[in-house]
Amino acid sequence: MAEFFHRKLERNAIGFVVAIVAVASIGGLVEIAPLFTIDETVEDAPDMRVYTPLELAGRNIYIREGCYACHSQMIRTLRDEVERYGPYSLAVESKYDHPMLWGSKRTGPDIARLGDKYSDAWHVAHLINPRDVVPESVMPKYGWLARNALRTDDLGLHLKAMSRVGVPYTQEMIDNATNDAFGQASPDSSFAGGVTERYGEATHVRAFDGDAARLTEMDALVAYLQILGKLTDAAQPKTASAEE
């Protein structure tokens, strides 16, 4: 009987392809699909905030320059990683990351908890020429970031696209995206107030590249790097004992 069934299946091209797809998807159905329904997959983080337009622009630059090829943003549940980088990453911390940038290769260090670790001036100096501050570094130079003006006219559309995939941007945030991007890097401008109002008091509002008058790609990338691991405190209390 089994032999007969197999003989028949093997001689039916479409039927055999369907059978292969069905068998090959078992792994995914068992290991991946259930994560969408299991409660524990994504933790609760009521304090989770969204990326500001400037941080989102920085994130796009991070993707454009391929930073993820050498830097991971994922602290695994291993003792050495927790002791070096801080509390292990939670799924909820990547909740608004589309696409996620966990990465799988570390030529450079993991940067999941880079936010507020170093000064803006260090980030700027380091991106212009990493060897100016870290002589041993093999990271490429990204000097043009400080020269390129940041494109901001399409930021509203970026926010809108994010809101379509579930990031809770309000219509007000989308409408003001361009001004907010400018305001976040120009603390003395009239746009700065709106950023705090819409994105919360904890938002960094400062001249990230040291020049408040010009909005550069450096501003955006440094703003993004300085918020890594800072969108929520959900990861902090759980392993606070490990840190102390």
Partner: protein, 293 residues
């Protein structure tokens, strides 16, 4: 099922497939392969029972052993902490001078401190603590906020011009840009600074210029840098007479500093490093070997 036939040479059955006269023997799967197949299947059944495995809608089977990666890593970190407690407790409780006098503990500080320094401080201050432009040389021991351990520990805790609530705050004013001094006045005051210290003397200051600069210094700079230009630890104002320059002692850099001002930023480490870790770093930084110039 008449397709299979017996192969006359080996006496085995063939699969019945034929390609240009070549037929395939139906050789049975080796026993050892079957054996390991059965073993892995049995292993997986055991794994389903003991480890987290099967999804059940909103939840999943937790397994009899109750193993969870997150609790595992937390236990490992706790265990490592317990192993370190032998000397960590001593470092936490003893004061700085006692630890410094204890060579065994200082050996531990050197080892743990090197790791902590490498992970957290070295990117700015350099792997040997020698700093760089804008990032103070710690090995030179030209302390901005005082060289006693308590002062250094406090700087590590709250940072300088950091978002920490109790941050140390320090700023060099933009005397030129903000119009407090004009160009000749800046030149004069730099002549004075060059005459009293080790700033490189590219432009050979005349004594007259230095004398004029001395008055400007007394009126504008002495309130922070002190009348003797030796700096003030309370304000984080650097000593201008020593060989240590944060941004550079050449004339051009000095001019930029006086014209545009400076405001460095050291992050606060209280949220990231424990009190004991910061204590180790303090001792490590104090013990950094001075680089030979």
């Amino acid at each position: 099922m008449a397709l299979e036939k017996r192969d006359p040479v080996t006496g085995r059955m063939t699969t019945g497939h034929e390609w240009n006269g070549i037929e395939e023997l139906e050789t049975p799967i080796p026993r050892v392969v079957i054996f390991f197949l059965v073993v892995t299947i049995l292993f997986s059944i055991g794994y389903w029972i003991f480890m987290p495995a099967w999804p059940l809608g909103w939840t999943y089977t937790k397994g009899l052993l109750g193993i969870d990666q997150r609790t595992t890593v937390e236990q490992q970190v706790e265990q490592a902490k317990a192993e370190r407690a032998v000397w960590m407790d001593q470092i936490e409780q003893m004061d700085f001078a006692t630890i410094q006098a204890d060579s065994a503990l200082m050996g531990v500080v050197q080892e743990a401190g090197a790791t902590l320094f490498g992970d957290n401080c070295a990117v700015c201050h350099g792997t040997r603590g020698t700093g760089g432009k804008g990032f103070p040389d710690l090995a030179a021991k030209a302390w901005l906020w005082g060289g006693d351990p308590e002062a250094i520990a406090e700087t590590i805790r709250v940072g300088i011009n950091s978002p920490h609530e109790e941050t140390r705050t320090s700023q060099m004013l933009a005397f030129g840009r903000d119009g407090m001094l004009d160009r000749t006045q800046i030149d004069d005051v730099l002549a004075y600074v060059q005459s009293i210290g080790t700033a490189s003397e590219q432009a050979q200051p005349t004594p007259e210029a230095a004398a004029r600069g001395s008055e400007i210094f007394a009126e504008n700079c002495a309130s922070c840098h002190g009348e003797d230009a030796k700096g003030m630890h309370d304000l984080g104002a650097p000593d201008l007479t020593d060989a240590s320059w944060i941004y550079g002692g050449d004339l051009q850099t000095l001019h930029t500093t006086v014209y545009s001002g400076r405001q460095g930023h050291m992050p606060a480490w209280e949220g990231r490093l424990s009190a004991a870790d910061r204590k180790i770093l303090t001792l490590y930084v104090l013990a950094l070997p001075q680089e030979k110039q």
